[in-house]
């Protein structure tokens, strides 16, 4: 019965998962390779994955919370820092991959041209790696929150429900940028000029309801920023202890899935051409 149900899903919606599952050994091996080669030769090794977010968290707590009290809107210093930190975890994840994705195929040109390497798995490994770092940063946040507030909201257990569609969304974006970046190096420059702008259009240092209180139409525009929507929902489950609007959530999941499938199809369509032009 369950088999029957699975078989009734049009293959286009599950094709990316099937291919990834078939290449799971390769994905695991390459992810491992990325971690090993990143930490080999550094004295602290994997500890850096903890130290850098911790350093960031402390800096933002000290700096922003004390110098920009208007933005904190009645929140305590540590609460405001937590709010910024959650925003930054999600946004850094996005921006790191947005910067890197256009160059991914160029970085792996030997893999792509000189061995039988399924190039679409590069997006999986890059995204898995970025999410692992974000996961460590999130663990830092949890510890920080426990130490400063003494408690965590129960709704934090809903976090995986946000992470999963966010992962698919990012993966779709990476596939799209990876393919475009292979054709023209301009994409990397375009991203370098767009992402910093996007940072201010993302509710990292502020919250959407603060904007909504000032100007409803601007807030509506900012809602179009999917990364921002995810940040707002992450904050509500991991910091405020509220459950996000279910319809908003489902819409977000649908859009993310569409981006995921769209990015995959775009990449696979041009995959064979990319080998020749890179």
């Amino acid at each position: 019965m369950r088999r029957h149900l699975l078989a009734s899903i049009p293959p286009v919606y599950v094709a990316p998962f099937e291919r990834a599952w078939r290449n799971r050994e390769l994905i695991r091996a390459v992810v491992r390779r990325e971690f090993i080669s990143r930490f080999r030769g550094s004295a602290l090794g994997p500890l850096w994955a903890v130290i850098s977010p911790l350093f960031m968290l402390l800096t933002y707590t000290a700096l922003f919370s004390l110098t920009v009290p208007q933005l904190s809107a009645g929140m305590s210093v540590t609460e405001y820092a937590s709010s910024i930190f959650i925003g930054l975890i999600a946004f850094n994840l996005f921006s790191e991959l947005a910067y890197r994705a256009p160059m991914l195929l160029h970085e792996h040109v030997n893999f792509v041209k000189k061995s039988i390497f399924p190039s679409e798995t590069i997006a999986w490994t890059a995204t898995i790696r970025a999410f692992t770092y974000a996961g460590v940063a999130f663990a830092v946040y949890i510890v920080f929150r426990l130490l400063t507030a003494g408690t965590l909201p129960l709704t934090i257990v809903l976090t995986p429900l946000l992470v999963a569609p966010f992962f698919l969304f990012i993966l779709g974006v990476v596939w799209f940028l990876m393919a475009l970046g292979a054709f023209t190096r301009d994409v990397a420059h375009i991203m370098a000029s767009i992402v910093p702008v996007l940072m201010f259009a993302t509710p990292i240092f502020y919250r959407l309801d603060q904007i909504a209180a000032m100007s409803g139409s601007v807030a509506l525009w900012l809602r179009l920023n999917i990364v921002g929507d995810y940040i707002e929902m992450l904050r509500s489950v991991a910091l405020d202890g509220t459950v996000p609007n279910v319809f908003g959530y489902l819409a977000l999941v649908a859009i993310s899935y569409a981006v995921f499938i769209g990015g995959y199809q775009f990449f696979m369509r041009y995959k064979s051409v990319i080998v020749d032009v890179i």
Partner: protein
């Protein structure tokens, strides 16, 4: 037994899209439905040949004859523009020495990734990793970062992976010409060993090497098969053509 050929190539042709300007590639994606922004450059025209199981076939040809492109097509790295091809079983390519290797990782770690690229499961890799180490026979270097390796050592690891990945077809591009005499002799032994269980297709400019190792030699010229058959005869013809060309060139000069 030999009902199914190991490699079958029927009318394979490949045209690269040649762009006058790098950004025309992007234009082609965006507006390709309405206008063509490239010229076709045909590298392979009409390549026909078959290789039986267990055969060792060498490919000779001048630079730009399409040898590497042909191998890339057979490996499935790039798509042919026309024609059909089939390769039976698992392919192990050595297209550029050490191309899939990361200099920071040890030989063992790289071997694991290399085996995963060829499609081995974790269990299979666990089972054969020590065999690969034994085959490579580079002692403690196997646990050292690969950037410390010599070309010969890299080749041994690459060969070891292919030998134990239970590949059916080994495809080698030029990789063997890097080593010294001792290494080349070792390669001959590797290839002879591999040929007991699998098919080999290799490109080389070392004609003596091919003559001594191959069952057949294929001469690729201008994107078509000019001659295929007995190694001694094809190589002799190829040499004669090269010499004639050289004479002609010097005669003009």
């Amino acid at each position: 037994m030999s009902s199914e050929p190991s490699i079958l190539c029927a009318g394979v042709g490949k045209a690269f899209q040649l762009y006058a300007h790098q950004n025309d590639q992007l234009k082609q994606i965006l507006f390709g439905l309405w206008k063509k922004f490239y010229r076709d450059k045909w590298v392979l025209h009409d390549v026909n040949f078959t290789v039986e199981k267990g055969e060792r076939v060498g490919i000779v040809g001048r630079n730009g004859a399409g040898k590497t492109t042909l191998l890339q097509i057979l490996c499935g790295i790039t798509q042919p523009t026309k024609g059909e091809f089939r390769v039976a079983g698992r392919i192990a390519p050595i297209l550029a020495l050490g191309s899939g290797f990361d200099g920071l990782l040890t030989g063992r770690e790289n071997a694991r990734i290399g085996a995963a690229i060829l499609g081995l499961s974790r269990k299979e890799v666990d089972a054969c990793i020590d065999d690969i180490a034994a085959f490579a026979d580079i002692g403690p270097f196997f646990e050292q970062p690969m950037r410390t390796y010599s070309m010969g050592m890299i080749a041994r690891v690459a060969f070891g992976i292919c030998a134990y990945a239970k590949a059916d077809v080994l495809i080698v591009d030029e990789a063997l010409s890097v080593g010294d005499e001792i290494f080349q002799r070792k390669c001959e032994r590797y290839i002879a060993e591999f040929a007991r269980t699998g098919t080999i297709l290799m490109v080389s400019h070392d004609l003596n090497f091919l003559a001594s190792l191959c069952d057949r030699v294929l001469w690729l010229e201008g994107g078509v098969v000019r001659e295929v058959g007995d190694p001694k005869k094809v190589i002799a013809d190829y040499r004669r053509a090269m010499l004639a060309e050289e004479d002609h060139a010097s005669g003009v000069a």
